[in-house]
Structure formats: C-alpha cells, structure tokens
Symmetry: C2
Subunit: 379 residues, 2 copies
C-alpha cells in the first residue's frame, strides 16, 4: 500500500463544499487529490492536484477517472456505482464500498436494510407504481419518498388523505408513517479497515416552527443520557453491520414517546457534522481521512458548545454573491465563517456555514440567532 501522505492518489467524486472542507483537512497530510465534478466552477476547482470536469453518473467518465487514482471516495452518493464495482474488481480501493453506496442510493433498499437488521425506523411500504399506491392500505397521513435521487427535501410528498393521491409520484417510491417528532437528531460514526468504530456525540437540530426549516445544529445534545447512548449505539450497529470504511451520518427522529427512529443514512461527511471543525477534538473531515487511510480514529469529544448555522442564499436574489453583515458577525468572539467558494447565489442555495463556539450554551444560541439575522447573502 502506498503511503497516504503523498504517494497515494486519492480521487474524490464530487467537488462541492464537502469535498472542499475534506481537502482543507487533507492539506495537512500532503494528500495528492484529484476531483471529478460536472461543474467547472465547483468549490474544489482550485484546491486539488487535478480537477476534472465530467458527469458523476456516466459509467465511462467515473471508470476512467477511477483508473487514475489508488483510492476513491465520495462527497455525494449520486455516482455511477457500476463503474465503482468494476474499479473495485480491478484493484482500486473504493471507500465507502460500492455496495454501501448502492444500498444508500435507494431509499427502498435502505429501509429494507433497517428492517432486516432490526434498526428502529418508521413503518413503511415499498411502492412500484401509481396503481399500487392507490391499492395500498397504508394509513393516512403518510409521506411518499422517491426511492432514488431525492435531495434536500426534493422527492418527498405528503399524502394527508385520499385527495392527495392525484399529485403523488408515479416513479418507484416508498411510503412511510408520518412521524410526529420531538426532535431531529444525528450521529456521525466512523469505521476504519481495522474495524475500529467511533461515534461523534449526538447533535440536535433546532427547528424554526414558522419556516418549518432546520435553523441551527446544536452540539452536544442535552437530551437524556439514555437517549444519547441509544442513538450512538444505533449508529455503531449500522456501521458495524454494513462493515463500512469511512464516515456514516445517521439522521434520526426522536418521537414524542421518546423512541428513536432512523430516518436516513449518508456514507460521507455531512451537514450535521460541520460544527466538529471547531467544536470537537477531531473534525468529521479528519475522521473520514483517518478512516479511509486506516489510521487510528481520532478522539471525538466536544471541546465546547458549538452551533452551526447554514448560510443560504436570500430569497429574491440571484447573481454574484455579496455577504452582507460579515464584518458585524466577525466582531463576535468564537464565530467561524466558512464560505463555500460559490460565485453565484440563488434562493436557498447553501453558500456557506457559520459555527459559533461558546462555553455558555445560552450565549452560543443567542450569538447564533444574531448571526442568522445579520449575515445575508444577496446579489
């Protein structure tokens, strides 16, 4: 095996912000990095040894890219898995493994995996056609999710009663009981080739009930110790059952009865782990590198309270981004700005994030609200 600091050529499928922050960390280890992304203006374009513009879903493109590296990883699941399988057969190391990406690409297979392995999750049914949906006796209200390619709220449809059926997806999907949840929570877990497994402490998402949007991510959680233990042990169980190598983000609901239900998996660094850059002993990006390079996993303990605020493009603005209020928020101690290198803003586009660190949790939340009110991405 080539040494990870230099000789080894790491390919990243996807050149977005997750790849960008992964590279920022990989610089510390001299990792030689090639990136494939369809967008020639992708956030990683200037930060790697080679940036290749090409489709992530095209077999030939992914295969040819993979032949030029020793190890492949992803920062987005929507990639051509057939090419990855072939590359694995030909000796390219693919972490996370192609079979895991294939499983996670399909929300139907993901749910079946949960069921088979007794991972708690909302009741569901696999639906192959509009006809089958109508015939299903699944109790209203429920959520319909496309099996493939859903992303950031896309591919999700609420079926409150029979009258909603007309607008439902006709593609392969699954229907799922609507969870009246108390809280959205997440655990990031890592596993290396040696089988070492480590979780990051549980984080909570704070909802804005008016906008029905995740406003903040708060780390660490103040939920009861048993809930934290339970969530972390579910994440560990999934990582071990999958035998994943790399990072796995496990998004969960805590329902009103205090039961944890797994919502979705992402086999890569994830929005719910950004606060770890400043808030934990190692960041999720460092941990992903350690996992895929089969290095000892890092200590994940929280250093402080950390709140992560997504910086989204303001509604009504489209064009070259202007970051209004940045000077004001830099006046606050413990405020860390991460812009993603996207030249153009559009409504709700993820343009960056800000992490707020404070030993006083209430103060951290107060600062986070100030950041959210003050920093606006306009054009």
């Amino acid at each position: 095996m080539k040494a990870f600091y230099g000789d080894l050529r790491l390919g990243i499928l996807g050149g977005g912000q997750l790849g960008r922050m992964l590279i920022q960390q990989a610089i510390n280890y001299n990792v030689t990095i090639k990136v494939l992304d369809p967008d020639r203006e992708a956030p990683c374009r200037r930060l790697c040894n080679e940036f290749i513009v090409g489709s992530l879903s095209d077999y030939e493109t992914v295969y040819n890219f993979g032949k030029k590296v020793d190890m492949l990883t992803i920062e987005i699941e929507k990639v051509n898995v057939d090419a990855l399988e072939q590359l694995e057969k030909e000796g390219v190391v693919v972490y996370p493994q192609s079979r895991i990406i294939r499983l996670i690409q399909d929300k139907g297979l993901q749910k079946q995996f949960f069921k088979e392995n007794e991972i708690p999750t909302a009741e569901f049914q696999i639906i192959s056609s509009a006809q089958q949906l109508k015939e299903s006796q699944f109790p209203f209200p429920y959520i319909q999710k496309l099996r493939r390619d859903g992303y950031d709220g896309k591919g999700v449809y609420k079926v409150l009663d029979e009258s909603y059926l007309a607008g439902a997806f006709t593609e392969p999907s699954l229907v799922e009981r609507m969870i009246d949840f108390e809280k959205e929570i997440a655990v990031i877990v890592a596993r290396n080739e040696n089988g070492e497994v480590k979780t990051f402490p549980l984080v909570e998402m704070e909802f804005n009930p008016q906008a029905n949007l995740v406003e903040f991510l708060i780390s660490p959680s103040t939920l009861p110790f048993e809930v934290q233990q339970e969530a972390e042990s579910i994440a560990k169980k999934i990582a071990e059952t999958l035998n994943i190598v790399g990072l796995l983000a496990v998004e969960m609901f805590l329902d009103k009865n205090g039961q944890i239900l797994v919502n979705e998996l992402a086999p890569r660094p994830h929005n719910s782990g950004h606060q770890s850059i400043e808030g934990n002993v190692v960041s999720q990006f460092e941990q992903h590198l350690r996992a895929i390079f089969n290095q000892p996993l890092g200590e994940t303990a929280c250093l402080s309270n950390a709140i992560m605020v997504n910086v989204l493009g303001e509604a009504g603005y489209e064009g070259p981004a202007v970051y209004q209020g940045i000077e004001k928020i830099l006046k606050c101690a413990g405020v860390y700005v991460h812009l993603y290198g996207k030249a153009l803003t559009k409504p709700f586009r993820k343009m960056g994030h800000v992490t707020i660190i404070d030993n006083d949790r209430e103060k951290a939340i107060e600062k986070a609200r100030y950041v959210q009110e003050t920093l606006k991405v306009i054009a």
Copy 2:
C-alpha cells in the same frame, strides 16, 4: 474597495508553509489568491488560483506580479522592496507596508528603531567593515549578526574573544551583547487599518540544553503575570509605533534578571504562532487576514494548553520524505499533524509541525516529547 471574499485579488510573495497555512484559512473566505515563489514545487503550488514561478528579489518579477493583484502580502521578508514601493505609489495595497519590510530586512535598522523608540533590546553597535570590527571596543563575548539575509541561525557568529575575530563576517553587520537568557519568548500582535491592535498570549520556547535547539513552543506561558503583561505591551507599542497593518511576531529574551529584551521582528505569520490554529480562539493566519482586510480582529484567548513541535528532516537522510511513526502519534488524543507538502526531505528541513492540545499542561508536554521521539522524517 473590492470585497475581500472573492472580487479582491490577493497576491502572496512566497509560497512556503506560511503561505500554505494562510491559504488554508483564506479558503473559508473565498479569497482569490495568486502566489509568487522561485520554487516550482513550493508548498502553495496546488492551492491557489494562480501560482507563478519567479524570483522574489527581482524588481521586474515582483512589480509585474504586483500589477496583477489588488493587495499584496508576504510570507517571507526577503523580497524586492523597491518594487513594492513603486506598486504602492501606483495604488496596489501592500500589507505589511513596504517601509516596514525594508526596516525589518535590515537588522541594523531594526536595532536602531528599537533604540530610538526605547524598546528594550541588547546593547549593540553597527559594524560596516572587518577593520571597524577589530577597532570596536565592544566587550567580549558578543554575537555578530549580518545586517541582511540572516535566517534560521544563518548569518550569526559568536565572538567569544579576540581569537574569533579572524572568522568574523566582513559584510555589514551588527554586534550585540550575548544575552544569558532564562527563556526565549514571543508575542504575536496584529493591527488593522482602523488601528485596532490585539496581541496573542505570550508563548515560551523550551530549550533542549544538549542540542541547544528550540524543542517545543508552549502556549500559554506560565511566567509571572507582570512578565506577560510587559511582553504584550512591548509588542503593542512596536505595532503602534510602526503603524503596521498585518501580523507582527516579536521574538524576545527574558534574561536572568527578569528583564525582557526584544530580539527580532517578523512582519508576518511566524513559527511561534502555529499552535494558535488549534490552541487559540482565532489562529494567527485568520488574524493576519482580518488585519489586512480591515476586519474586526479576532479574540486571541487560549482554548487550552498547546505545544508545538517542529517536524524536521532527520540528519543523514535526503530524498523523498517518509513520515515514520505517524500512525503511532495519531493514536494520541489531541495531536494535530501539519505537513507542509514538501516532497523531498533533507537534514533539519522544516517538513511540518505537530500541535498537541491538552487541558493538563504536564500531559501535553509528555505527549509532545512522545511525538518528538516517535515521528521521524526519513528518506
């Protein structure tokens, strides 16, 4: 003025590890960066928007490079200052200002500046020739330093008695009383255009008496509060007297009588501030960016004890670098590896650094010794 996050083109003179870590931080602000360095394999080569190979001491090269950017900064002082002066006249912002770089390039002018401004420093005399050195009545033993181009111990000669005079430098130099110091200490201070000034807490260098080398940098200092206050106020006074915009590293001696004497200045990020990446609320690199972009300076308080160990090429090895022991040190919690992207090692070449964070100071020092014994750069 263009916005620093994107429109503004920042040029960095020098593409070494200091530039590399500055870029790692600047990524968070989308800064458009061009780098000039004579070495086509310099650490920054893959991390900037444009990397230009060229001499830093050649007027035309520096001038032409500067004409393509809106703002220039440095990561090494040895640059053509005449070109910077001309660029300033033509409207390019140069931070730190060319007059400060000119002053600091010349150890004779530096010492005179200290004297004129009542900054405590070791007694000295400016020497222009071998003849003048012989005729000087400067009391033995003393140190002779070349006025220009000394670096990392080069350009320094000990004159213990008359018999040493034969080997002395004949170029313009200064002679300086040999300080019997208790400790080498340093303060990094930043000043922005608005005149805001902030110091980082005092750090100490731990000497290995056998090797006569700085082994560790320890942050924060545990010297008496008055010493810390005094050192920080000296650093502030220098930054304010110079009206510098940017970062200034102030290296000092604490002598056996408890007196602080300023040794040397560096108007840029500095080896004595690397621990700030993990050990302080903001890092020296973030602070330098905030200073030159006239943003509010960041909070500099220490988050924890931090020890910085330089990772030097092992004596006796030259060639493609191998980092022996890296897996072992990654097993320790709170150990942060920073490699500088140099393909080839040679004896004592700075190949990287490791920062160790621990709330228990003794434990941090123990871990630092372990890192130093364990991590070896061989070929």
